[in-house]
Amino acid sequence: MRVHRAVFARGLRRHSAYRVATLSGLLTNSVFGVINAMVLLALFAARPEINGYDARDAVTQVFVAQALLAVVAVMGPPLDLEERIRDGAVATDLLRPVPLQSWWLADDLGRAVYQLVFRAVPTFAVGALVFDLRLPDDPLRWVAVLTSFALAAVVAFGLRYLYALAGFWLTDTRGVWAVAGLLGPVAAGALLPLTLFPPAVADVLRLLPWASMVQVPAEVLLGKESLPGGTAAGGPALQVLWAAALLALGALVTSRATRRVVVQGG
């Protein structure tokens, strides 16, 4: 719909105003990526292969994680919707003839695309300059990678939208973020590749939605057989399932929230 396109474009434009934040974020991502990569290189110096990952795989995933961190916002920031629920401004969102979830999805995808172009790509480029990353030769795989990155943003929105809706019941979602901001990056494989966990734990984490934000895109890029179905297409397939499930849940919770719960403020 046209309205979503306009909301998307505005999300994109709004974030392009924060140039200094983009630059400092880029610096942080690069520095942390380098540190994280050195630690993993030290680890892999002791053992050349862990659960199907070698040092190059691990370092590549580190930079996928650093690149995607701003896109999927797994450690925040929350959606603006969250603040609007807290102060009652969500009332005006609800008075539009547009579903709440699709409106905010369009807005957040605008933000994600901006972050993809101006944070993810440069961060990954820094990684590729400093380290020997494992990059696909097959152009089709690059298509799969981009698809997987885009789906990561949708899954990430689905989760953050649910965190935000919790605000209808909790009035303050800082507690939600305290837990999600800590466990989210771990479960996503952003702190360490999930491969480094004991296989039983990794297998469970891989199936949870958080893995769709970093671990799955990284494995798509690396062409790992640990993806569902053992092919690069299995990753996006799992992500599509999670995106659909989370958006469906989001729609359900939205209607419950607006039916049962009070919009704050007079």
């Binding site: 719909m1 396109r5 909301v7 539009r96 003839p97 547009v98 007079g266």
Partner: protein, 325 residues
Amino acid sequence: MTSSHDDRPIIETLGLSRDFTLREGPLLRRRRRTVSAVRDVTLTVRPGEIVGYLGPNGAGKSSTMKMLTGILTPTAGRVRVAGLEPSRERTRLAARIGVVFGQRTTLWWDLPLRDSLELTRHMYRIPAADHARRLAELTDLLDLGPFLATPVRQLSLGQRMRGDLTAALLHGPELLVLDEPTIGLDVVSKAAIRAFLLRLNAEEGTTILLTTHDLGDVERLCRRVVVIDRGTLAYDGDLAGLRASVPAPRVLVVDLAAPAPPVEVPGGTCVRVEGPRQWLELSDNPAAVIAEITRRHGVADLTLREPDIEHVVAALYRGAVPSAD
């Protein structure tokens, strides 16, 4: 505008009620208490009416407005707006009505006003030509021209309110719901907005429901006044009837040439003295009282004050509503 709906009520509520459950007390001994915000409100508004919905803070005005617009579900009773059930058909209803909350904005804070108004075209699927024509009309009537290109965060409150009104009206809604539309505005802005609303109502037949604490809004705009108190309807009728239902005296403010003891005249009771200025509640013909005062004292100035609606309403609550639950 829409002739097919002319005779059917645009707002219809029957026994509309809303309770809130509060949890109180320390964490371990927390008790639940049910508070009734709106109780058994039955109200019918016909197309083309301008209705003022009055009541003190906490009386249930906002809760009623939220139920009418579909962002709050009633605990009991029935509500239909434009033939729809608001909380169930909220997004459909949103396309038929316009809503402005005086203390909130629907405009995009960081973008030029024009962008937010352009968005409404897609939001309400307004044909481009209709949108352009209506925007030109509203730009003219509300004098938006000078600040269409200004980011909303740089607008004055009065400009922002005009922008919000425009955003709510571009799709030509049958019903305009306004929650304190003139709050915080200066006299000139208030007058402009009132004149605009009257014209909108007269020329397009748009039904207007507004809450306000502003006497001027009510007196200029509302042919019908509904008063809500502690959740229940306390009055429904015209403004003159509301005044008549409560004995609220007119007040004569007299500036004497020099400070004096409280003036004693037949038909007036002095209720306040401040230096040379005195306030007299009138129980009689003001002309006679004024003549008497000017005969006895040196008078520098005189003002006759009508009872303002807040006092009428306050008196109505004290007198007309049973004291116990």
